[in-house]
């Protein structure tokens, strides 16, 4: 994100680093909404030092100030400090995915959005999908990623770099805006050769029946021209299976 200073640690800096980490830990321990004064008292750090460290951590976006400007909470960036694996889908869910594989000629993949990224949790063994890192990093180019982006209040908060991966990749923010609006209204995301020139994809969202939050996505992958010609029956199958997966994953 930013170039870090290559200077070696000197003088009181090691202590400052320790204090900063202690502040971060205290915010986690006390829970969101904890104030600067409370942190200072809990850690027995001088107030001025605490305030400086808090401003530093807010500047780096590890912490955020809540709307009252007094309370603190962990920022999005802190999620990177403790990556957690997406939970493996239950056997019943795998069976539903397997069932769909028996009905179509193309690859069927199941992705979880539990980590805030596209994470494949059931890959089609006969049709190996694109590697995980690419899917996680460039959601704008995959159908599963578009399902995730369409669900965000502002997708620009999740992805900044609309990198061109193939000739077909959508790199224009306004064009992507339009695509995501279509995904929201139709409940179907598509991409034809945007991630890899030889692969197209259809994906539908899987929402928790309890509170309607997006939990996972189900995708069909195949040659782009064939996927583009896929008839309504295939899409119906995809939606049907997604609906059966919802109570198993939500």
């Amino acid at each position: 994100m930013t170039g870090l200073d290559p200077l070696p640690l000197s003088g009181r800096q090691p202590r400052a680093v320790r204090s900063a980490l202690a502040v971060l830990e205290e915010v986690v321990a006390a829970g969101p909404g904890v104030t600067a004064k409370e942190i200072s008292a809990a850690l027995k750090l001088p107030q001025a030092t605490t305030y400086r460290l808090l401003n530093l951590l807010v500047g780096e976006e590890y912490l955020v100030r809540l709307p009252d400007l007094r309370g603190f909470a962990l920022g999005r960036r802190s999620a990177r400090l403790a990556p957690h694996a997406a939970p493996a889908p239950p056997t019943a869910a795998r069976a539903v995915v397997e069932h769909l594989r028996g009905l179509v000629r193309w690859g069927v993949h199941l992705a979880s959005y539990a980590t805030g990224q596209v994470t494949l949790v059931d890959r089609d063994p006969d049709h190996p999908p694109t590697e995980d890192a690419l899917l996680a990093r460039y959601p704008h180019a995959s159908a599963l990623g578009k399902v995730l982006l369409a669900d965000q209040p502002d997708w620009r908060g999740v992805i900044r770099d609309l990198r061109r991966l193939t000739e077909q990749t959508v790199v224009d923010a306004t064009a992507l805006d339009r695509q995501l609006a279509t995904v929201t209204t139709t409940g179907l995301a598509q991409q034809f050769g945007e991630l890899r020139p030889d692969r197209g994809c259809l994906a539908v969202p899987i929402r928790s029946p309890a509170d309607d939050t997006l939990v996972a996505g189900l995708a069909l992958a195949g040659p782009p021209n064939r996927i583009a010609e896929a008839d309504g029956r295939v899409v119906e199958l995809l939606r049907e299976h997604a609906e059966r997966l919802a109570p198993l994953l939500g």
Binding site: L69, A73, S78, P153, D154, D177
Partner: protein, 476 residues
């Protein structure tokens, strides 16, 4: 599922629609530096300061730099903690409450609008001077046309996206500052000009203090980076740094300019009409004069762009706050800039100087009048934000002695500067304009109290933390 504190988070930021988190530190810095327009200040301000400070002119600038740094420190108390687009008025709201925030908003709105008018006029005046030096004497209508043309270009750039306009500002300002540094370094090596009859006043303490007000004029606009809080990539770091760095940079450039001119005139700098041109002539380097006009004209062009950026974001924030027509808070879908505010503001800021020039007012007179009016707005804005800083810190429970000391020094100094300004401006047309603006602001406030009390009470929109920014919060 959702913790109580996090349940209240908004789904979208209240300033959604702007191009969030997209500007690097250099682009944020350029916004502040350009709005302060150091080149124009370097050429003209030392002669005003020298009227009272004489040979101690440099000390007046040093004091003004100190005061600007204190104001920057007060502003930083806010900008390290919140990212806003409405400049000092959104910040003041968090410390002093709606009434003072409205006063700050009205003062800055007129300050920004009139500074854009002044910058447009300045660009036309110095372009005209440059053309004349190159042998073409343009009729007055050309000046008015140049104002309209520049305003149209500025409007297009500001609309086209914050990134494009910020980068243009950065490039133009870099050219301007390079030119000015070259000019003053050349002049430092020049022999002194013949002392005018009756050398300047001795630089006593009272004279130095009186010189701080005109010296402060060189810094006006240095807070402009606070309007890019939403659009800066790392707002809590780059905005406070940009404002502090601008105070330092403008201070250093001004001190260089003041020193060069005081030495050049052997102490008789006070009241010289064209000090730098005179020095250039003595040095036998007429090409310096053309370079100077170019440097100042480019500085005013950058100032026009930067201050327009600031002006439309203040209008945008007022629209979102609901204290101005809500349409002003709209943003363009593609360019992610406040396009309605641009469409409303630019015709006004272009028409005023164009009419003044077309009606036969000389360029320099128009420039002086506009700068005086703008300065008043800025001084009020600075005074209020300095007053608000410790109160804001106390409200959020983070008050320490340092900010109190900064306020205790800065507020009386700024109040004195405001008082001195009123006295110094009494004989010109500025007080009439200011009185009219004051009446308009009072009427606006009365209307808001009557018709939109709720919006007025909630004034001070900023880029609040939304559910998306918090780890573990689910969008509502």
């Amino acid at each position: 599922m959702q913790n109580g504190v996090l349940a209240g988070l908004r789904r979208r930021s209240p300033v959604a629609g702007l191009d969030r988190r997209n500007l690097g530190p250099a682009e944020v810095l350029a916004q502040s530096v350009s709005s302060a327009a150091p080149a124009a200040g370097m050429a003209t301000v030392p002669a005003f300061v020298a009227v009272t400070a004489g040979t101690a002119t440099v000390w007046s600038f040093a004091l003004a730099t100190g005061l600007a740094l204190l104001v920057a420190a007060c502003i930083a108390q806010f900008t390290r903690r919140m990212a806003a687009a409405g400049s000092l008025y959104s910040l003041t709201a968090k410390g002093l409450g709606p009434g003072a925030a409205f006063a700050s908003g009205a003062a800055l709105l007129s300050g920004y609008a009139v500074l854009v008018m002044a910058a447009l006029t300045g660009a036309a005046v110095y372009t005209d001077a440059l053309l004349e030096r190159l042998g073409w004497r343009a009729p007055p209508a050309v000046g008015a046309a140049a104002v309209v043309l520049l305003a149209a270009v500025a409007g297009a750039l500001v609309l086209r996206g914050v990134r494009v306009s910020a980068r243009t500002v950065l490039a133009v300002e870099a050219v301007s500052i390079t030119l000015m540094v070259v000019i003053f370094v050349v002049l430092l090596g020049a022999p002194p000009a013949p002392a005018a009859p009756g050398a300047g006043p001795p630089g006593d303490l009272a004279g130095i203090a009186a010189g701080v007000l005109p010296a402060l004029g060189a810094f006006i606009g240095f807070e402009a980076a606070t309007t890019l809080g939403v659009e800066a990539r790392r707002p809590f770091v780059s905005v406070p740094r940009a404002v502090l760095a601008t105070a330092v940079l403008v201070g250093l450039l001004s001190i260089l300019a003041a020193y060069t001119q005081v030495v050049g005139f052997a102490g008789a700098l006070g009241g010289q009409p064209e000090p730098v041109l005179t020095l250039a002539a003595v040095h036998g380097a007429p090409w310096l004069a053309s370079l100077l006009d170019l440097g100042i004209a480019t500085s005013f062009v950058a100032c026009t762009l930067a201050t327009t950026n600031a002006l439309v974001r203040v209008l945008f924030s007022m629209g979102r706050d609901g204290i101005a027509p809500r349409a002003l808070g709209a943003t363009h879908r593609r360019y992610r800039t406040p396009h309605i505010a641009i469409a409303v503001a630019l015709p006004v800021v272009a028409a005023v100087p164009a009419v003044l020039l077309a009606a036969g007012m000389t360029g320099p007179d128009a420039l002086r009048l506009l700068l005086a009016v703008a300065t008043a707005g800025y001084l009020v804005g600075y005074l209020l934000v300095c007053l608000a800083a410790p109160l804001f810190l106390r409200r959020i429970g983070e008050l320490t002695p340092g900010p109190v000391v900064a306020t205790v020094i800065a507020v009386p100094a700024l109040a004195l500067a405001c008082g001195a300004f009123v006295v110094s401006a009494l004989d010109a047309a500025a007080p009439v304009v200011l009185a009219a603006l004051l009446v308009a602001a009072a009427a606006w406030y009365a209307w808001l109290r009557l018709r939109r009390p709720r919006e007025l009470a909630g004034i001070g929109v900023y880029d609040e933390t939304s559910a998306l920014d918090v780890h573990g919060a689910r969008p509502p």
